[in-house]
Symmetry: C2
Subunit: 340 residues, 2 copies
DNA sequence: TTTCAACACTCAAACGTTTGCGGAAAATAG
DNA sequence: CTATTTTCCGCAAACGTTTGAGTGTTGAAA
């Protein structure tokens, strides 16, 4: 068990000063050719690697970025992480992942912890509880300390920072318009309650398409799920009660519950009823019938977020502050839950 | 933009020395009651938080653990992370996640990077490429430096360290025995090639059950998938060609491909053919029919791994070295892809 | 021989902490 | 009133780096 080589040990071993070693390894012209070679050879032989922590302290930057998400056991978030990780690694950054479990307190805790030197900046999607409380002081505080933050997916206007979002409204419109184009007349919507921003936006897209196509909105055909744990039975009742020829669901789970309910009602997907989901996850691909969905391109979102963050981190301080919001386009992936 | 309070600034502001501030904040009895109160009040008012990096350097420990996995867009791994994160957080540790993308080189790179001071220890599941190459020098080197490592899921005997695995053989036996008990006579196996250790072990479980029940092994009923990308068609051909009354698949995807193929052949699941998968993911729960599977309890594995690692990290140096392998039991989750 | 530049290297401070030790002032004892 | 203890605080080193300033030696020019 050899306890990790330091500059000091090399210096002692080779009978030079620490600074000589440091400079030699960094190819400074201050050091004579032969000592330089000698030191480099020694370092190589014993596989010297500078200590990251010491470097972080000295440079006042850690080269790591923190990503805080509500939960990790969720396809969309993992694709985002994947995207972040990819560009972060490319640019020499590490990624440290924290989970808020959708709890406000844990989000605050994580943020505080990482803000004390552990990371140079954050990529974050807000916890559900945070959005309900509308308490963002932990975020504004971190931003005030000069730490760059990029919000994605679940964002909020009150916070001034870079953001990466998808065109929820447009995405929903693409989906619903697609259904209309295929001849659907009575399109059901399975959404979430309105304080979940994505639910609200996707609902808006749904309404806009109906309006654009002069279809009257039937409030009975709109279901807003309050309690996720109870979504299956709620959806079943909704489908049983209403007579629809198409369903637009704001996520995968709602979509497959709808399909299940439709099938149990004795109808067929897509022959009798078409179904479109949102979020292109594992489930959509593998389900039978496979789901036509609006793909959110999580990986691309993560990559964009990482790029925004790193840009800000490596920006010269003289450049002036400016916040961007990049919108990642959604796309409709046609599969077997809709008529072709 | 206030640039983060340090001890030095507090000291200057209150006209005392840095050490006085430090000691006061740590409630040292060396400091007089009134100055102590004054300093603590000031620190609280301006929300002082010690700099983690400086602490890490001083204490020579970072209170973060690294987890390196082959890919994150994979249900099992996310549950493991979730488990790790939970107990790590409980004990005041951070988790930094790196992906090897199943590449040997990236695994080495990540390991080296994190080993240079960024983390106190590792939790790791090996990249496929690493297992093929059988080159573990990067791991042994890190271990030799005195950095604790816990391997999980994809482990290897050559490396001496703590390990967390599942009882692959027993899990497979549970599944296959279950099929036998339900009256299956011709049980197909859909597995992977043998250098993937889990494939090999699960195959062994399958064989043992057949032997224990005096069923003759029919090599035609065993499919070993080489190329994941081509698994769907391979499985379809396999099902079309062979007449089975049950299928045991070593993962979710193989299981649903089998179901799909069976259905396309005009047979019904579970009435005509029962199917059991391995790995209890999103897909198993949501698929129609939902899958009977062997659950791997990833979260529990992650938690165990984290506990092992932290134990080792906080162990007194005088205690002697010893490596444990904990086996996390699998359990059979009965759903609708098997006859009840 | 003196003067000065070039060279090769070392010193010391800094990043933000913690902590053993030493020291001055105040309190107590003799 | 001196001697000793106690109280309270500052100094400095340490963790592992980087880097500007400083120092000593050499060789060549004047």
């Amino acid at each position: 068990m050899k306890p990790k080589l330091t500059l000091k040990q090399i210096a002692r071993e080779l009978d030079v000063s620490i600074s000589t070693v440091s400079k030699a390894l960094r190819d400074s012209s201050e050091i004579g050719e032969d000592t330089r070679q000698k030191i480099k050879a020694f370092a190589k032989l014993y596989n010297y690697r500078p200590n990251n922590i010491a470097l972080s302290l000295k440079n006042r930057k850690t080269k790591t970025i923190g990503i805080i998400i509500p939960e990790i056991v969720h396809y969309f978030f993992t694709t985002v992480i994947s995207g972040v990780e990819q560009v972060a690694n490319e640019k020499g950054y590490n990624v440290i992942v924290c989970l808020s479990n959708n709890s406000f307190d844990k989000e605050v805790l994580n943020l505080e912890l990482l803000a004390n030197g552990s990371t140079d900046g954050f990529i974050l999607s807000m916890a559900k509880e945070t959005m309900q409380k509308e308490d963002y002081h932990h975020l504004t505080e971190v931003i005030n300390q000069g730490m760059p933050v990029v919000l994605f997916d679940r964002v909020v206007d009150q916070i001034h920072c870079d953001k990466v979002i998808i065109d929820d409204v447009i995405g929903a419109k693409k989906a619903v318009q697609y259904l209309v184009d295929k001849g659907a007349k009575k399109i059901g919507l399975v959404s979430t309650v309105d304080y979940v921003s994505v639910g609200k936006l996707r609902t808006r897209g749904y309404l806009e398409v109906l309006r654009d196509n002069n279809v009257e909105v039937d409030e009975d055909l709109i279901l807003k799920i309050e309690d996720m744990d109870n979504s299956e039975t709620e959806i079943k009742e909704f489908i049983d009660k209403n007579d629809v020829d198409a369903v637009f669901a704001v996520n995968e789970h709602f979509a497959i519950h709808a399909i299940k309910a439709i099938q149990e009602k004795g109808l067929k997907v897509p022959e009798d009823v078409s179904v479109i989901g949102f979020t292109d996850g594992e489930l959509s691909k593998r389900f039978i019938p496979s789901l036509t969905t609006v793909s959110q391109h999580g990986e691309r979102m993560g990559a964009e977020a990482a790029r925004l963050l790193i840009d800000k981190l490596e920006r010269k301080p003289e450049e002036e502050e400016s916040y961007k919001t990049v919108i990642v386009e959604t796309s409709l992936v046609e599969r077997n839950s809709t008529k072709s």
